[in-house]
Symmetry: C2
Subunit: 668 residues, 2 copies
Amino acid sequence: MAPHPFDQFSLKEIENSVAFIKAQHPGKTIHIKTVEREEPPKALMVPYLEAEKAGKNPIPPPRIGHCIYYVLENKAASELWVNLDEQKVTQYKELPKGAHPPVDPWEAADAQEAAFKHPDVLAALKKCGLESLKECLTTDGWMYGCDEEGDIPRYSQLLIYARDPKHNHPDSNMYAFPVPFVPVYDVLEKKIVRIDWCATGNDSDDSNGFNYNTLTEGKNVLETCKGNEYDPELVGKTRDDLKPYNVIQPEGTSFTLQGNLVTWQKWRFRVGFTPREGMVLHDLSFDGRSTFYRLSVSEMAVPYGDPRPPLHRKMAFDFGDCGGGKCANELSLGCDCLGTIKYFSGNLADPQGNAFTKQNVICMHEQDDGIAWKHTNYRTNVPAITRRRILVLQTILTVGNYEYIFAWHLDQAAGIKLEIRATGVVSTQYIDGGKHSKWGTVVSPSVLATSHQHIFSVRMDPAIDGYKKNTVAYCDTKTTPWDDLNPKGTAFLNETTYVEKSSTLMADIACNRYVKIVNENIKNPVSGNPVAYKLHAAPTALLMAQPGSIARKRAAFATKHFWVTKYKDNEFYAGGVWTNQSSKEVGGVQDAVNRNENVRDDDVVLWHSFGLTHHPRVEDFPVMPVEMMNIMLTPNDFFTRNPAIDVPQSTQKFNRSVEVMECRSCHM
Amino acid sequence: MAPHPFDQFSLKEIENSVAFIKAQHPGKTIHIKTVEREEPPKALMVPYLEAEKAGKNPIPPPRIGHCIYYVLENKAASELWVNLDEQKVTQYKELPKGAHPPVDPWEAADAQEAAFKHPDVLAALKKCGLESLKECLTTDGWMYGCDEEGDIPRYSQLLIYARDPKHNHPDSNMYAFPVPFVPVYDVLEKKIVRIDWCATGNDSDDSNGFNYNTLTEGKNVLETCKGNEYDPELVGKTRDDLKPYNVIQPEGTSFTLQGNLVTWQKWRFRVGFTPREGMVLHDLSFDGRSTFYRLSVSEMAVPYGDPRPPLHRKMAFDFGDCGGGKCANELSLGCDCLGTIKYFSGNLADPQGNAFTKQNVICMHEQDDGIAWKHTNYRTNVPAITRRRILVLQTILTVGNYEYIFAWHLDQAAGIKLEIRATGVVSTQYIDGGKHSKWGTVVSPSVLATSHQHIFSVRMDPAIDGYKKNTVAYCDTKTTPWDDLNPKGTAFLNETTYVEKSSTLMADIACNRYVKIVNENIKNPVSGNPVAYKLHAAPTALLMAQPGSIARKRAAFATKHFWVTKYKDNEFYAGGVWTNQSSKEVGGVQDAVNRNENVRDDDVVLWHSFGLTHHPRVEDFPVMPVEMMNIMLTPNDFFTRNPAIDVPQSTQKFNRSVEVMECRSCHM
């Protein structure tokens, strides 16, 4: 079957693209970062999708490969586009000065290898008394969060940790044994350029915490640390009173599949995958009416609050620097997913250009989610009740220490929820035994987990009853003054303002502000209002870094809750295109807003920034129970009644529940 | 088995209490509102609970009956307390002037009967052209939301609706046929005192919408309305592509029961039930350490925003005016609850003093809730993963038109979530055919659903590592100035402030404010911080009514997000004790705060107000898909590591999931 234009590249298409890279640079050594299917221009896709839905067999737009890579001999990062239909390179360019493609695990492995051979690192380890524990040591290779303007070489910084020396188990929780210095590695020169010592005390020390000069040479600094394991082999005895819980779908699932096209409970959409964003949903419609052209998690910035060098450079852009697709877990049946599961896989390229498939990067399954709607007529005591079935599309990323679980939930009432769970291990640093610090929480002996943020950007490209003519509006609840029409001071109403030009908006809880996406050309025949979807946003704290700071310039997207921009092809990345070591956001939402374009009744895109400000608790170690948040999109005067009104009633015959009968002091 | 002091009254105890009421008023006609077990004083309960946990067999506090009722002959509302252990009345008093006990469905039925016989009502119906449709008419008996100071008789207001005259089915959605006038009923005099005509137009009318003088006598006003049904018999064809989804627990549940004492996954608590609050959780502990003394939903205020008389008087206190227990649904297996379900029942008294049991007012079951924690060591590619099992305690209230679903979720990491779902039917009023109004949304022809709010108060009586010495603190994320210690402007930290005196707090999203409950006497041995639970609050809009308005005085609780008060026996009701027709909040959180008591390291209570500001959408009719919100309590430096670290790994052997294999265009 020919690929759909929204389908990712096959392994063959990746290999075909790689051949063009190699042909472009004969005899050179290529380090590939990304080979992906470039998303076709909307101007081509809209007629394609319309024809497709009309049952025609339109000619798809050409399959274009977009490749990002280094030519190692000249240390140049390049982009190349190849038209696979015509088998020719259509564009080639070197990245602008100061732009750095994402990090990757191969680079991190190189950095670690170089570090543990480097005399300065060895001397520092000796100073820390860790010479004899070298076999326990490992590193987290971190992006070098930029803190200055100007052209900085491609660096990485290595956070050094030790597996518990008592057993050196390969899955020992190394974050319980942090080593207090950071080698900095020049990725392209392939050499350690310096080591930075970390503050290990606190602000009440004379040294402001920079105590490394007082280290007793050769005394094992990690002696004040203590094993703190999460691996089941190391945790030991677990609870024995949890009984099995199985989800059975005796007649199979309620969804149907054709390639990546899913239909379920009046929904129709395509599941997509990109190396940078991971899971993407395309061309969603409900009951034959289009709702969204594209939904994706665009970016996440993770700045840390401890300002003491060098760890103030811990600021990651998990999508732009690493990649939501590249970091996606291969999910496993019965572990990550319960019930009847459909998996989708993702195709990627390794640095040498070998294409490979990551299996099961997305799972899809139905889930019972409690009650969907209920009403009991108290006069007759007759209830009407339906259960809420949802279709869950889940992907899980491992970005070094942290895990993120992203799940889109589609429901039967045309709602779409994005649920985010943060788990994994908090990033830690060494603190002198017995000390505490205002910059974080001591979560294990001599282990400081510093305050940090996770600011997400979700990109919503709407297609409310049509692909191109939507408007973003915001609604504020307003009171009206005391007057003859409001004699008791009880009045309030909803005031809607349409956004005319690309711009930003802040959440405002006091007036119940919410944002909606409207098609002004189509009025709801019942209410007379334009059809719309409402965003149930997450009104959270935003980026804490000071105005004027590099951190703030890099993550402008994280400083406002809502960004309203005019659609532009391939403008997918809220925090800018090249986030790794960026000193400001380029090609992100701020630039898009600054174009000052018309967005009313136009091809508008809505971006929402929100996040977790995480002051770690002891309970977040050695692994963090999920911290959950969500946003939701619901139809708002889009339909002429509850779109789930035709969901069958919930019955015992269908649901087959079991009642626990009276029983004392026993497991039932 | 003798009842536990936290157990509700048995039917026998209710009947025994009623006998004392009748003996107190020989020969009089009693209309009983409430007979309940008064909660024992904490000063008696704490030693009892401590002894109980120590394995002793303490003597329980006496069983005290608290009764609220009218003596109809003298129209006096009274309270009576009876000590059932000693079989004597311990206190009797009449309610203060202006205090009105809750409404009840028997009064509402009386009001309806009186209305449809009353000449003014009959004349108004004739004017509306509804004389011949009398058999289709019914009413929602509403509390008379007070709009003035002073002593007002006990009134109710009747919103008149019609079942669809086309079929007059008993479960026809009457809210699609609203009648534009409101009879006002004097409950104790048992007579209609007047009728109020409603505005049916909009503000651009010359009459400001008060068009009743222009009604054409005898012309059926409801002709512009149209049936809009939710009842399955009337909805017609439903979707046929939803496949069954069964939850099987082959080895039974993971919880154990002893009466109302539940143990599950290190949790231990008691399930309670009161007529006013409904479901209450008592004496929660995790792994042998106490966490909360009592958790309850205390109040909900539902003011409407249309200021045009008489409907500006739509302001309900769903708990104080009606009762969370009294309105609780009898839940049914396989409909309201999926899986293996334990039900709890509630005992109530009818107006004549007959005790009866409402079956299944609370359901309890386990649920799989996705992933609890996960980490993959990317070096070895070994994941550690557990699923999140929750224990759900759910109750559903029908308060006239609306349904509320309250569910406490306990989790294996010592977290407690309260999830609230709003469903049911929006309250509607008539609007002239073809018109719209800024005060609401036309959700069906000639049917206006006006803007309104649901402001909840949740009462949290903490027992963080001990019953009596807790402190509420709030934490704000603060940046620090640019200086030598913050050279790049990246610094931020968490600043904790302890609340000393009973007072209020507002949410502040900009600084990530959160509230926690601390035991300052017990330090976490790892972090050095006092043990605590954190409240993940809902930072929402609060009451919109104007400062100085009666509405605002009545619901002071709904004007601040957090109330910190000193514990006082039987101070359970955020919006005051007698909310029905109140003109101000008496005995609620405002009075408690105004006592200006010490709350630091003391017996403190935390109350959280939050809500939905609901501008109805067409999709909310004829019945509203659930609108969901939640708050959560999580341990914060309470444990020395992730308390769910010992949950067994998630395995396919245990979970028995099924993979969907490739298959095109078919249901699988």
